[in-house]
Amino acid sequence: MEVPILKQGAVLIATFQAALSDADLNHLRSALVQQVVRFRSRGVIVDVTAMDVMDSFASRTLREIAHIIRLRGAETVIVGIQPEVAFAMVQLGLTLEGVATALDLEEGLAYLNQKFKTMK
């Protein structure tokens, strides 16, 4: 299953469509890193609104994405974690520490825009 990556100015937006397998997640990770390099993007938004389960692998992949992208000089924000999914994640001890989160796409963009300003 391909995850579409949208380019909007300096920001890349990856939207998870449905339940993703590990292979899909790995593919997404490398695709995002490649595109950040290619477009010299300053921010990445990963929209997980459609994900109904976030297990340890998905959560670890998201953290890795955020860390690798930070090494490339860009910021990542995860948006759209559903209340029920968030509840299950903290039960599992998955807190995405060190990764920025926002309510939805709009909030994610606002967060990045503000980050860009302070970075200038």
Partner: protein, 284 residues
């Protein structure tokens, strides 16, 4: 098969006996109920009316060997008497009394024919036990349903998620928190964050007297889950005892956003929100 037929035959005879002596046996039963001080919350007339219905349903269950009608009646009865404060032991007690009254009348009737008495009791007892069971289970289930309903209502009342201004929620927690309530609280807050698009949440625990390790863990999880939704949590009203509990379970209080009192918490929340509003006001 033959044994079954015989048992049905005996039950038929039994039912006829119970119908014939309905008035007398019912009187005796009601008398025993007031003697043993059961159903004290009900008037004599009420007890008599209910006893009549129970008696007839009881005999009908023996006759048809089906328990649905009795079950429905037990549920209906429970619904009416639970709000009056009737207890489980009373309901079980009156059914056992009826079983006893009826068994005694069988002894009296068949005391000259010991063999027949034995056969009648063999047929009667399993059915009587099943009836007692049906009524008791029906009552307990209804009681549990009522208790669940009340608990839910109380919980809804005791965990209000308040929106004090745009994007700011306050969750004042008062009273005792058990794990179940803690979970409901978290779910309500997370839903509230999403529907109100909250950016900052102030959880005020001034009204929480004590917090054990399990509940403290819940509080930490609530803070973490809120962050996953993109909201910042400020905890206010942390007593020294609760702070100690949090430290004991390994919570880094430096990482948790804590402010002394609710007022201070709201002020900090507004600073956080104000910063945000300014940033958005500038054109990109």
């Amino acid at each position: 098969m033959a044994k079954r037929d015989e048992s049905s035959e005996l039950l038929r005879e039994l039912v006829a006996h119970l119908r014939q002596n309905r008035t007398q046996l019912r009187e005796e039963w009601v008398g025993r109920i007031s003697e043993t001080r059961l159903l004290t919350a009900m008037t004599k007339e009420e007890i008599f009316a209910e006893a009549t219905s129970v008696y007839d349903s009881y005999v009908e269950a023996l006759e048809t060997e089906t328990f649905e009608a009795l079950q429905a009646y037990a549920r209906n009865l429970s619904e009416r008497i639970i709000p009056r404060g009737v207890e489980t032991h009373e309901v079980v007690g009156i059914v056992l009394l009826l079983r006893d009254v009826l068994a005694r009348s069988l002894f009296a009737k068949y005391q000259t024919d010991f063999k027949k008495l034995n056969r009648i009791l063999d047929a009667y007892e399993p059915a009587a036990n099943r009836i007692a069971n049906t009524v008791a289970v029906g009552f307990v289930q209804e009681r549990e349903r009522v208790i669940r309903q009340q608990q839910e209502a109380i919980r809804e009342l005791s965990t209000p998620v308040l929106q004090v201004r745009e994007r700011l929620l306050i969750l004042p927690i008062i009273g005792v928190i058990d794990p179940q309530r803690a979970r409901q609280l978290t779910e309500q807050l997370l839903r509230g964050i999403r529907t109100n698009r909250a950016k900052v949440v102030v959880i005020d625990i001034t009204g929480v007297a004590a917090m054990d390790v399990t509940v403290a863990n819940h509080l930490v999880q609530t803070v973490e889950a809120s962050r996953l939704l993109g909201a910042t949590v400020i905890v206010t009203g942390l007593s020294p005892e609760i702070a100690q509990t949090l430290v004991t379970i390994g919570v880094d209080l430096g990482k948790m956003n804590t402010v002394g009192d609710l007022q201070g918490g709201i002020e900090q929340a507004e600073r956080l929100l104000g910063y945000k509003v300014m940033a958005l006001a500038e054109p990109n």
